[in-house]
C-alpha cells in the first residue's frame, strides 16, 4: 500500500493516513468520558503515550522486558528466584525453561502465574537499563516504534499487539500470589490501554524529546 519510491510521496501518503484517521475518529465518543476524539490534537498524542508508558513500566509488563539475562518478579521487581535465566530464545535453558513452571494458565493454588507461550521479551525490546532501572519515557517510546527492534511491527501492528497478544492480556489477569492475594493490576484497564494506544497511533506515535 505504501510501496512508492519517493520520500515525498510517502510522506504525503503518511499525512493523508493520519488525516483520514483523525477524520474517522472525529465522530467517536470515547467511553471513559475523559476526552473525545474531536478534542484530539497532536500534543495529546504525547499525553496518550504517557498513559501507555505507565502501563509498560508497570511490574506486570516490565518484569519480562529486562536488559539482563534474567526476568524479574513481584511488585518490587526483584530478580526472579531459582537462578532462572533468559537462554538463547528467552525461554530459559534446558532443565530450567520458563515452561518448567509457567503453564498455559495461572496456578492460583500455588501462586505461579501462567499464560500462553510464557517467555521473555527479546533484548531488543528491553525497557530497562542493565541495572534494572526503567528507561525514560523517550527511550521506551523510541524502542517501541523502532521496527528493527520490535520485530517489524508497524503502528497498526503495535495496536493489534496491545489488543490481542496473550502475554499482554495476561497483565490484566495475572492470578494470585503465593500468599493468596491478587497480583496488582496496571494503572489502566485493558480497554483504556488499547484506547490510549489507538490514539497515540492516530497521533502519529509521537515520542517525547530527550534522552
Amino acid at each position: 500500500m505504501f510501496a512508492t519510491r519517493s520520500l515525498v510521496v510517502r510522506s504525503f501518503l503518511a499525512m493523508f493516513v493520519v488525516f483520514a484517521s483523525w477524520l474517522a475518529l472525529a465522530s467517536v465518543n470515547i467511553t471513559n468520558g475523559q476526552t473525545t476524539a474531536t478534542d484530539a490534537r497532536p500534543a495529546d498524542g504525547l499525553a496518550e503515550w504517557q498513559r501507555v508508558y505507565s502501563v509498560l513500566t508497570f511490574p506486570r509488563c516490565i518484569n519480562c522486558h529486562t536488559a539482563t539475562n534474567y526476568p524479574q518478579q513481584g511488585d518490587d521487581r526483584h530478580r526472579h528466584f531459582a537462578n532462572v535465566i533468559r537462554g538463547p530464545d528467552g525461554k530459559g535453558v534446558a532443565g530450567l525453561n520458563c515452561a518448567s513452571c509457567h503453564q498455559e494458565k495461572n496456578s492460583d493454588a500455588t501462586g505461579v502465574p501462567g499464560g500462553h507461550n510464557w517467555h521473555l521479551a527479546p533484548l531488543s525490546m528491553r525497557w530497562q537499563d542493565p541495572n534494572d532501572r526503567p528507561l525514560s519515557s523517550a527511550a521506551v517510546c523510541r524502542a517501541l516504534i523502532d521496527r528493527a527492534k520490535n520485530h517489524g511491527l508497524d503502528a497498526p501492528g503495535l495496536l493489534k499487539h496491545h489488543e490481542e497478544e496473550p502475554l499482554v492480556l495476561w497483565a490484566w489477569d495475572p492470578g494470585r500470589r503465593p500468599d493468596g492475594t491478587l497480583r496488582a493490576l496496571p494503572p489502566l484497564t485493558h480497554v483504556q490501554f488499547v484506547e490510549a494506544t489507538r490514539r497515540w497511533v492516530a497521533a502519529g506515535t509521537p515520542c517525547p524529546k530527550g534522552p
Binding site: 528466584f81 531459582a82 537462578n83 532462572v84 535465566i85 537462554g87 535453558v93 534446558a94 532443565g95 530450567l96 525453561n97 515452561a99 518448567s100 513452571c101 503453564q103 498455559e104 494458565k105 496456578s107 492460583d108 493454588a109 500455588t110 501462586g111 505461579v112 501462567g114 503465593p178
Partner: protein, 154 residues
C-alpha cells in the same frame, strides 16, 4: 474431585483428585510414587523435577488439570532411557549423593540438559543446574558426573 487420565512413565494411570492438586502430590499420594520429592512447594528448589513432554518441569506448581495427555516421566522411569541410565550410573560412579533428598530432581534436570546439549560446558551446566538446590553441597560432584555421563554417551 475430577478424574484425570495421565501418562506416567509410559503407563496410563487414572486418578480422581481436586483439579488444583499439583502433579507432585498426585504422583506421591495417589500413585504412591515417592521418588519425586517435596522440598519447598513453590518451585524454588527443584527437588520435584519431572519431565513433562520432555521438558524438565517443577511438579509442585503444576496443577493436574493443566497436564492433559502430555507424557510424564519421573525418576522411577528415567532409567529406562539411555541418557537417564548413563546419568544414574555416573551419579553412582562418582559417589555424588550425600543425604540424597535433592538428587531425584538433580538427575531429572541433568538428563534434560544432556538431551539438549550432549557436550555441555561448565557454563551450560551452571545455567541449567543452577536452579536445583543441594544443602549438602554436592554441586562439584554433580558437575563431574554430568561430564562423566556425557563421555559415556559418546
Amino acid at each position: 474431585m475430577t478424574t484425570y487420565q495421565l501418562s506416567v512413565n509410559g503407563q496410563r494411570k487414572e486418578v480422581d483428585v481436586d483439579p488444583t492438586t499439583p502433579l507432585l502430590w498426585v504422583l506421591r499420594e495417589e500413585l504412591k510414587m515417592t521418588g519425586t520429592k517435596y522440598g519447598c512447594g513453590i518451585s524454588a528448589c527443584g527437588a520435584c523435577t519431572v519431565h513433562l513432554d520432555g521438558i524438565a518441569s517443577r511438579s509442585c506448581v503444576i496443577p493436574v488439570s493443566l497436564i492433559g495427555n502430555r507424557p510424564i516421566v519421573t525418576i522411577e522411569g528415567i532409567g529406562a532411557d539411555p541418557v537417564g541410565r548413563a546419568v544414574q550410573d555416573a551419579w553412582v560412579d562418582k559417589d555424588v549423593v550425600q543425604c540424597g533428598y535433592c538428587q531425584s530432581g538433580q538427575i531429572m534436570t541433568a538428563v534434560a540438559l544432556l538431551k539438549d546439549k550432549p557436550r555441555p560446558t561448565d557454563t551450560n551446566i551452571e545455567e541449567s543446574m543452577g536452579g536445583n538446590l543441594c544443602r549438602c553441597g554436592t554441586y562439584v560432584r554433580i558437575r563431574e558426573a554430568i561430564k562423566g555421563a556425557s563421555a559415556q554417551l559418546k
